[in-house]
């Protein structure tokens, strides 16, 4: 095994890692926005709204992530045209991957948000309403700030899952970390070396995320 290849080509792994991070940040952002909307929809007083959000969750949690990625990248252009993923910022496959991961994680984050809100004692809502606060004010000023503390740990967990799941986007040719490792492994027929190299980079990234989430959790525990 020729480990010096790693030193020779570590820049390619880092370029891959960069795209991995970009895709993670992009899909996390999309997932949190979508998940918050879906989570609130799940708690709506209107049955059709709840039902719609429930249907979304069923679909995205009930089908494989890899299928969703491929569906967006290969199937959608057959309907909406081959250039739908063209954009000035990112490779087409990376953008399709971000959207797919964001749509998927939105379903999981919705459940985190919903349980976070439901975990806030109903007495808090009653006290706020009894003081004359509107439904919206009650959510904004009383329920959401308390729900926020509860959802931070599971959200951090979801981010870590998402970071690792970006590797699936290599299947549609986004040149992120996993793709680079496979490409280099194939080029030199030295899979072992490059897989180990990629694993180390993934591990470092998740390790940092774990530490950050642990820190936030402790901070929140202090002020609780």
């Amino acid at each position: 095994m020729n480990y010096s290849l790693l030193l020779q080509h570590y820049d390619l792994l880092l370029i891959g890692a960069e795209l991995t991070v970009v895709m993670t940040v992009g899909s996390v952002t999309l997932g949190v926005i979508l998940g918050t909307v879906l989570g609130l929809m799940r708690l709506s007083a209107y049955r059709p709204v709840r039902w719609l959000a429930g249907l979304y969750l069923q679909i995205f949690r009930g089908t494989p992530m890899l299928l969703q990625i491929c569906f967006l990248y290969f199937a959608l252009p057959q309907i909406f045209g081959p250039t739908i993923w063209s954009n000035p910022f990112l490779p087409d496959a990376a953008l399709a991957g971000i959207v797919a991961l964001g749509l998927n994680s939105g379903a999981y984050i919705a459940e985190i948000i919903r349980s976070g809100i439901q975990g806030v004692d109903v007495g808090q809502t009653e006290a706020a309403r009894a003081l004359g606060l509107s439904h919206f004010q009650t959510m904004e000023l009383v329920v959401m700030p308390q729900a926020f503390r509860r959802v931070i740990p599971p959200l951090c967990n979801e981010f870590i899952v998402l970071l690792k799941d970006t590797s699936l986007v290599s299947a549609i040719g986004a040149k992120e970390l996993m793709y680079q490792a496979r490409a280099m492994g194939a080029k030199y027929y030295e899979y072992f070396v490059f897989m180990v190299g990629a694993a180390i980079v993934y591990f470092c990234l998740t390790f940092v995320l774990t530490r950050v989430s642990g820190y936030i959790e402790r901070r929140l525990a202090v002020s609780d």
Binding site: A127, A128, R129, A130, G132, V142, P145
Partner: protein
Amino acid sequence: MIKVSGLHKHFGANHVLKGIDLEVPQGAVYCIIGPSGSGKSTLLRCMNLLERPDKGHVFIDGKDITAAGHDVDLLRTEAGMVFQRFNLFPHMTVLGNVTLAPVKVRKIPKKDAEKQAYEVLRRVGLEEKALAYPRQLSGGQQQRVAIARALVMKPKLFLFDEPTSALDPELVGEVLDVMKDMAKEGATMVVVTHEMQFAGEVADEVVFMDEGAIVEMGPPGVMFSRPENPRTKAFLDRIL
């Protein structure tokens, strides 16, 4: 001040309030007693529309608050409510708890709201705890903050839902003292309680409820010494 007429409330198949009529005049203290599940709390919660009655009306100052077309959020400020479990907002200081509604509902400038908050905190004897968080306070102190939070809105009447039931026995007195002061100062109060001594001292009328109806009511002297209804008598015998 507040008048309830023909009030009915169901929870599913459970008929919780079966036609309640009650009128509390200005400045009066009414204590509602009765076994658990008798509908006392539900009646109280209907008085500020935390529960929507299925039938019947609630009038505050002659205004039918159960009629359609009112701003319910605004109506709720007419009646200050104190809960069994305090329900202070844990992520805000005492001052934050007390100023939230004046600032957000009454739109009073923050500075003025804080001045008023300190005034009501002084009334409940907790001025020096203004910057503490609820978790740093004892149960009795938390409930006094909850009372201050209601007081600061200057509501027309106060609704107390078993305000001392969640407290350790040695902390009950400080909360009842604050309530007695309020009564002395002429506040209109409806109190669901198991504190018979408090009811005896402070109440103008004691209302006995059982199975979703008012069985009997009268001044505490009469109710506690010679109740007419055998159910009232049986209940009082059990707890006095």
